[in-house]
Symmetry: C2
Subunit: 339 residues, 2 copies
């Protein structure tokens, strides 16, 4: 039996019970085609395959060409959406030319429409900005872009609009009001553009976005401390960063040092949380944690951390170790890293 004590650290471990429960909870809220899982959150084709097999979510979305390429070459290309803009005609062209793969690309400008056409992509969605200052055209321009895309021979499947500005709002009522405001803009654009796809939403709004025909969510799969502040969500943290205590200063005012630092954790949402004490700070390869007098922690002990932000944490690692208790029951490569 291989256990977490056999792993070199730092390492990612995924608790299968929480993973299974998270997938089931989302499938209950958004069954089958009502969910387009976002692979950017876990970057593993093995995990995507499980999601498709267990809950019949066969359409996925991606943030990068590397994710699109990896999903396509792993036989998970039933309906892949690049929920992002790209100017890379060459790589998009190879995807567009692939057999047995359905590719849809988000476009929000004349330039990105031209890239889709040159790449031989057949289907697009018009990406509409609905409150997050990022990609997406102004709602009033969606109709014109759809017309241009159609003129260029592209099939416009519908619209996409990500209400990212409120995904992490802890007050459910404020979040709901902002979703409604954003989706009113997207509905307006959709009425002009047409098509049967309204792709929107995320983990924080999956249950309250009633406009979207499909929700783009990924963080629900493994969760993190940031999304866990939203107490109305039915998902629980399933991923830990496993580390080893490499130095200890026991006693009052003391600390432990674990061998996982800011190269092993995403830091954009703050420090990770530790199971043995309060995190003082992270440096490249270390996290210093307070020594709590009631815990007997020794040099060589294994400790675990829950990251503050899941997507970029997973992107720093090569493997997901599936565990039941301390036993490792499977290992899935994080094969969709990079760009």
């Amino acid at each position: 039996m291989t256990t977490i004590h056999d792993l070199p650290t730092p390492a990612l471990v995924v608790h299968t019970r929480e993973l299974t429960a998270n997938l089931a909870a989302m499938a209950a809220a958004r069954p089958a085609a009502e969910l387009r899982p976002h692979v950017k959150a876990f970057k593993s084709t093995e995990l995507a395959r499980e999601i498709a097999a267990r809950h019949h979510h066969h359409a996925f979305c991606c943030a990068t060409l590397a994710e699109m390429e990896g999903m396509a070459s792993s036989g998970l290309g039933d309906d892949l959406m690049l929920a992002n803009e790209t100017l890379d005609v060459e790589r998009l062209g190879r995807l567009g030319a692939a057999r047995d793969v359905r590719i849809t690309v988000a476009v929000d400008s004349l330039e990105t429409i031209e890239v889709a056409r040159l790449a031989g992509v057949r289907e697009v969605v018009i990406d509409v900005e609905v409150g997050l200052p990022r990609c997406g055209c102004p709602p009033a321009e969606a109709a014109r872009l759809a017309e241009v895309a159609t003129d260029r021979g592209l099939l416009v499947r519908g619209v996409m609009g990500y209400e990212g500005q409120c995904q992490d709002w802890t007050d459910p009522e404020k979040r709901r009001a902002e979703v409604e405001r954003s989706m009113a803009l997207l509905a307006e654009a959709h009425a002009e553009v047409g098509g049967d796809v309204v792709s929107a939403g995320g983990t924080g709004t999956h249950a309250i976005n009633s406009l979207a025909t499909e929700i783009q969510a990924g963080s629900y799969v493994l969760m993190d401390t940031h999304y866990s502040r939203l107490t109305d969500l039915p998902f629980r943290p399933a991923l830990r960063v496993l580390a080893t205590v490499i130095s200890a200063r026991a006693g009052a005012g003391g600390w432990y040092v674990a061998d996982a630092g800011l190269k092993a954790f995403a830091m954009d949402h703050g420090d990770p949380s530790a199971d043995i004490g309060h995190v003082f700070f992270c440096s490249d390869e270390h996290t210093t944690v307070s020594a709590e007098p009631e815990l007997d922690v020794r040099v060589g002990d294994r400790v675990t951390f829950v990251p503050a932000h899941i997507d970029p944490t997973v992107a720093k690692h090569e493997l997901l170790h599936l565990v039941e208790g301390e036993e490792i029951i499977d290992v899935w490569p994080v094969d969709l890293r990079g760009w």
Copy 2:
């Protein structure tokens, strides 16, 4: 001729003029054996090889076993120090058994001394905590640990003590005073421990740490915006993250979106700096930058960012593209990633 316009983005580019100047400036201050370059900052054996060839720094230090293994197997093992504690007897044992490689390991506890002994490592330094609550024994315990290590058949080369708490202090006088305070503690420990190595310092203190026989510095090679706040340092940012403008909302109050986000930048020291405007925010694969009216930026243009923290930024990428102007003159793998 291959140029930056041929690269898929995001990508790391290294400006050779600034790189060359940084290496020379450090070698002038800390020639040859007075510097032990820290590979954690750039994670590339090709770059380490250049540093050794150009400036005769043949002793390196590493933060991880993966860095030690990569350096050893690339013929850069003249004098490798693991400037960190490890409990991994198996991997350390393979390093200890390697021929033509000199391995020194930091120890700060009975446990880490025992691991070094079991792994067949021959040489250690006693790691002393001198003000940063991280690894290292209290100064008063250094002598006892050195005695135990010697009893176990290990050669104690000396002491190591990292004054990391003040590396980034912008006031040179305060920084100097703190270095003196820290190094007084290390000198005390060294007097008890003996040996000819006093390994300490970093980019921020390389010129003012007069106790260290060798400075452990790495960030000086490529630099970042955080260290650039220290105006007394002679190093300049040599690395950029290259991105493509994938979406644009020109005009007053407008913004551009680049295809490099918080998976491409280390975020622990804050947002990167852009050459086209003020950074509003980073998300996974995007950075939104203000549209400055005087700049004519178009969708498809290349933009560059200087990261806030160099070490963890490099660790997110696979390649360093060496450039002169816009021409790519060499490509070095970031082959020391992971653990």
